[in-house]
Amino acid sequence: MIQLRAVQKIFGRRPAVEDLTLSVPRGEIFGLLGHNGAGKSTAIGMMLGQVWPTRGEVRVCGFEITTQRRRALQKVGAIFEAPIFYDYLSAQRNLEILSHYTAPTSKQRIAEVIDWVGLSGREQEKVRTYSHGMRARLALAQALLPQPELLILDEPSDGLDPEGIHEMRGTILRLHRELGLTILLSSHLLNEVEQLCTRIAVMNQGRKVFEGTVSDATRRRGWVRLRAGDFHQAAQLLKRALLITDDRDGKLIALADGVGTDRVTRHLVEQGMAVFEIAVEEETLEGFYLSLMKRGKAGPPPG
């Protein structure tokens, strides 16, 4: 649904996105991660034809965005971090205004969408009377109006309370399940991304530093926690026996391919080393993300 090939964007002299190649397959919930200024919003801007790439190719729904923007965005809905509307107009009027930039939309379709997001009965009220949560729902409604196949969500949970975040998460899953939408989700909430996304890309300083499945991200750095009589001596023994590839923090070891904790334990016991505890250390997406950020732009994907 989205393909970026060697995309670069330079603002003045400052590169915002560098050599970004990304592919979002149909039917996935794809997470785009990165800290503020990492280039996520610029990348999303380029996907929507709002920011012109300096170099490279951006294709959305099979069409090149710079030359065939109208066709590319025909079946795309988008939500941005702050749900902003014409406050002085009603929700219904806002939806009518926005829908007419895509295609003529019937009142029935607008009513359906309002109902879907749970704003029925409030649509004639001015948006200035809406809470942040209601605005977020209205933002979702405007994104759903053109019956999209692709939904681009840029920080959709920004500013929501925990209940609102939970509700938004449920809505995204519902959109994916019931309407079969492909969703690109940019978020700071790693927990949210971990729960929702099947694939992720991590950006740092304008570059993509990781792309893969969430399970790849958490499995790649499968560390094992080891509590032995002398950790450093144990690590040396295991390295010499080619049972581990790395160790860190005086308590974690990285097993070599095909090696299980049973072999490690057996080897240490045979060498007369006391083993008090050995357990697979579950890596969270947060841990993975932070380790990527520490490596900076030089770091290739760990593994």
């Binding site: 919003s41 801007g45 709002q50 923007r69 109208r70 025909q74 941005f80 702050a82 014409y86 002085y88």
Partner: protein, 280 residues
């Protein structure tokens, strides 16, 4: 689709309270001027001028005459201000608020968006001018009788004309067409600046500064032979319709120059808007 989009732009424009600031100010200014005209020696001055030229005062101190007298300073001072205020808002305010990003996430071309916005602005300009003239005539009629039109302008466009009420009304209506072009031109100037990456107030201030620069330069003796290069020279064309005989070539020339300024500013704005990156 185009008319739906234009209709929506008009909803957005006329749904905002600040759009009506100009209308409200005109209302107050006109009533203040009417009171001043009636109760100060302003009226006596006009009467003396008529009598001195052999005309009967009661035939020409009329609603039409007072309406034109009220329009002259308002068209010069207030109309550019309010046209620029709305023109500066058209794109820059949406960019500042963030709604522009939401619109441009949709498959609408930037040129189409600007076209409907400019047209909505042009409708506003015409409405503003027609309301201004209508209100001036209405309020003047409450205080003055319906009689012939007397126009006297001592400035760069020197006019001394008297005419029957029917002809005066016809020319009064015609002058509004030219005033609407003036308003559109000021709106287009502010609109052009608004298409670039700047605050709405900056776009308005730049447009007004450009107007002020024209006024100042036009009044410098060195530029006396180059007056037709200045926007303000052509802005006065609406007064020329009251001249006898009417200088059609000069009016058509001014109309063409102002139309060209509108087209040029729109093209510059559209190019600037097209190449610009829209970011939050």
């Amino acid at each position: 689709m185009f008319f739906h989009q234009l209709h929506n732009e008009l909803w957005k424009l006329f749904g905002k309270k600040r759009t009506y600031i100009g209308f409200g100010t005109f209302l107050l200014a006109q009533n203040a001027m009417l009171i001043a005209f009636r109760f100060t020696n302003w009226k006596q001055g006009a009467e003396r001028m008529l009598a001195g030229n052999g005309y009967l005062v009661q035939d020409y101190i009329s609603a039409l005459t007072v309406a034109v007298i009220m329009l002259i300073p308002q068209i010069l001072l207030l109309m550019p201000l309010y046209a620029s205020l709305v023109g500066g808002d058209l794109v820059a305010k949406e960019a500042e608020d963030g709604t522009l990003r939401m619109i441009l996430a949709r498959p609408v071309s930037r040129l189409r968006l600007l076209t409907v916005k400019w047209l909505a602005g042009a409708v506003f300009s015409m409405t503003l001018v027609v309301s201004l003239g209508g209100m001036a005539l209405l309020f003047a009629r409450l205080w003055f009788p319906w009689a012939g039109l007397f126009v006297f302008t001592p400035g760069p466009v020197q006019i001394f004309s008297v005419m029957p009420a029917e002809e005066g009304l016809r020319l009064f209506a015609l002058s509004h067409l030219l005033m609407a072009v003036n308003a559109c031109t000021m709106l287009s100037l502010a609109f052009m600046f608004s298409c670039f990456n700047m605050k709405p107030a900056a776009a308005t201030v730049l447009a007004l500064s450009f107007l002020l620069l024209n006024v100042v330069m036009e009044n410098i003796p060195f530029f006396e032979d180059y007056q037709h290069f200045f926007l303000t020279y052509h802005f006065r064309c609406w007064l020329l319709v009251f001249s006898k005989p009417m200088p059609w070539p000069q009016i058509v020339q001014a109309f063409c120059v102002l139309a060209a300024v509108n087209v040029t500013t729109f093209i510059i704005g559209a190019v600037g808007f097209h190449v610009r990156d829209i970011k939050s």
